[in-house]
């Protein structure tokens, strides 16, 4: 259920270090927002599209991943045509598509553990200040991945119980028990973590 959007491959972006990709993404967003030239945006769009299509996703999957955002972008472009000059609309639309494509390309070429390593480094200063522990962040992340399927199974069990008891399936009577039962596990899970000596209280 929770498989990453990473795509196995060896494209240019796959070989770039994570940090370079993230810096490029930030630089690109700032740069494109500062520029009002449709030509600059168009070039960025073509480059981003080229990078995205080179990551190794089959075309169908590649389109599916950005399809939703693109749909909304086109719709807005259509609305904007009534409100703004056409050149501005072109700038805005190309800029947005370029950013979305480049971001999707970064996501598709970076593994979760590469991200995690980078995040651990980024959190370094905060850790030295004693604000948090990087190990806690990766623990929390692991816990989410671990418990989503359990919570989903529980959600289905509660739904089934409604049906079995001839009760209407309503969000309210599902969400209440789901949250209480899930959060009640927190005590045991926390005890298990402490028992294995992972962190001090």
């Amino acid at each position: 259920m929770l498989t990453s959007l990473y795509v196995e491959g060896n494209s240019l972006l796959h070989r770039w270090p994570v940090r370079a990709k993230l810096i490029a993404l930030v630089t690109l967003s700032i740069g494109l927002f500062l520029s009002a030239s449709p030509a600059v945006q168009a070039i960025a769009f073509v480059v981003a599209a080229g990078l995205y299509l080179s990551v190794g996703l089959p075309l169908r999957d590649a389109l599916k991943r950005v399809g939703f955002v693109f749909l909304t972008i086109f719709f807005l472009a259509a609305v904007n045509l009534f409100l703004l000059p056409a050149a501005d609309v072109a700038t805005l639309t190309l800029r947005l598509m370029a950013l979305v494509l480049f971001a999707a390309a970064v996501t598709a070429t970076t593994t979760i553990s590469a991200f995690m390593d980078e995040i651990t480094i980024l959190l370094g200063p905060l850790e030295r200040l004693g604000w948090l522990r990087a190990a806690d962040v990766s623990l929390a992340l692991g816990l989410v991945l671990r418990f989503v399927p359990d919570i989903f199974q529980r959600y289905q069990a509660i739904r089934e119980a409604h049906r079995a008891r001839g009760l209407p399936v309503r969000p309210l009577t599902i969400i209440g028990p789901l949250i209480i039962l899930t959060l009640k596990d927190a005590d045991t899970i926390a005890a298990a973590i402490d028992a294995r000596g992972f962190r001090r209280q």
């Binding site: 069990a157 509660i158 119980a161 079995a164 008891r165 009760l167 209407p168």
Partner: protein, 226 residues
């Protein structure tokens, strides 16, 4: 009871949970045993229509579990392997009343039936308690009360004595023995099914034995290898 399986099979995706099966159940007390994952819960869920057959059909007292699924649900009550998932309202009394409210009973009628259900399981003192603070044994008893209150004719119980101590196990077992409803009881605790009228053994999605408890339990020991 009169439950008929006709060439009934269940698949979950690729995985066959139950191979085609033809069978009629008419005894008052039916037991079901088998290894983990052998298909017991799947079989029991077919009876009240929580699982639909991938092929073939199931009828309960003449009602088809696919076409008449609502009627089947009120015919056969189900107590889940994890009864805490089954308790939906925060307070015991509210939970027991919940099923009746939805069926449009009057307030007096609800009260009367609720008191009767609580009394039947000896849990009047729990009426005002919070559902999730109950101990394991108490949760079991409340789950049973909240199901029998709607008067099903058949009760299906999926491993009702897990995590229970000697006393609560005895109490739940006695309660089940005394139930006037027809029962289908799934369990790993063989003592509970020593006296049923008919004991089924599932193994890898097939019926591996079917008959009196003594023979079926012997076969079960063979299959389990101990």
């Amino acid at each position: 009871m009169d439950i008929r399986f006709t060439e009934c099979a269940v698949r979950f995706g690729e995985r066959v949970a139950l191979h085609p099966l033809t069978l009629t159940l008419s005894e008052r007390r039916i037991g079901i045993v088998g290894l983990n994952g052998s298909g017991k819960t799947t079989f029991a869920r077919l009876i009240n229509g929580l699982v639909k057959p991938t092929s073939g059909r199931v009828t309960v007292n003449g009602l088809n579990t696919v076409e008449d699924d609502r009627a089947v649900l009120s015919e056969a009550g189900f107590i889940f392997q994890n009864p805490q998932h089954q308790l939906i309202m925060p307070i015991v009394a509210e939970d027991i009343a919940f099923g009746l409210k939805n069926r449009g009973h009057s307030r007096e009628d609800i009260d009367r039936r609720m008191q009767a259900a609580l009394a039947r399981f000896g849990i009047e003192h729990l009426a005002k308690r919070r559902v999730h603070e109950l101990s394991g044994g108490e949760t079991q008893l409340v789950a049973m009360a909240s199901v029998v209150v709607t008067d099903p004719k058949i009760l299906i119980l999926d491993e009702p004595t897990n995590q229970l101590d000697l006393r609560n196990r005895r109490r739940v077992a006695d309660t089940i023995d005394g139930l006037p409803e027809d029962t289908v009881l799934i369990t790993h605790d063989l003592a509970l099914v020593e006296n049923v009228d008919r004991l089924l053994l599932f193994h890898e999605g097939r019926l591996a034995a079917d008959g009196n408890p003594g023979d079926t339990i012997r076969r079960y020991h063979e299959i389990a290898g101990c």
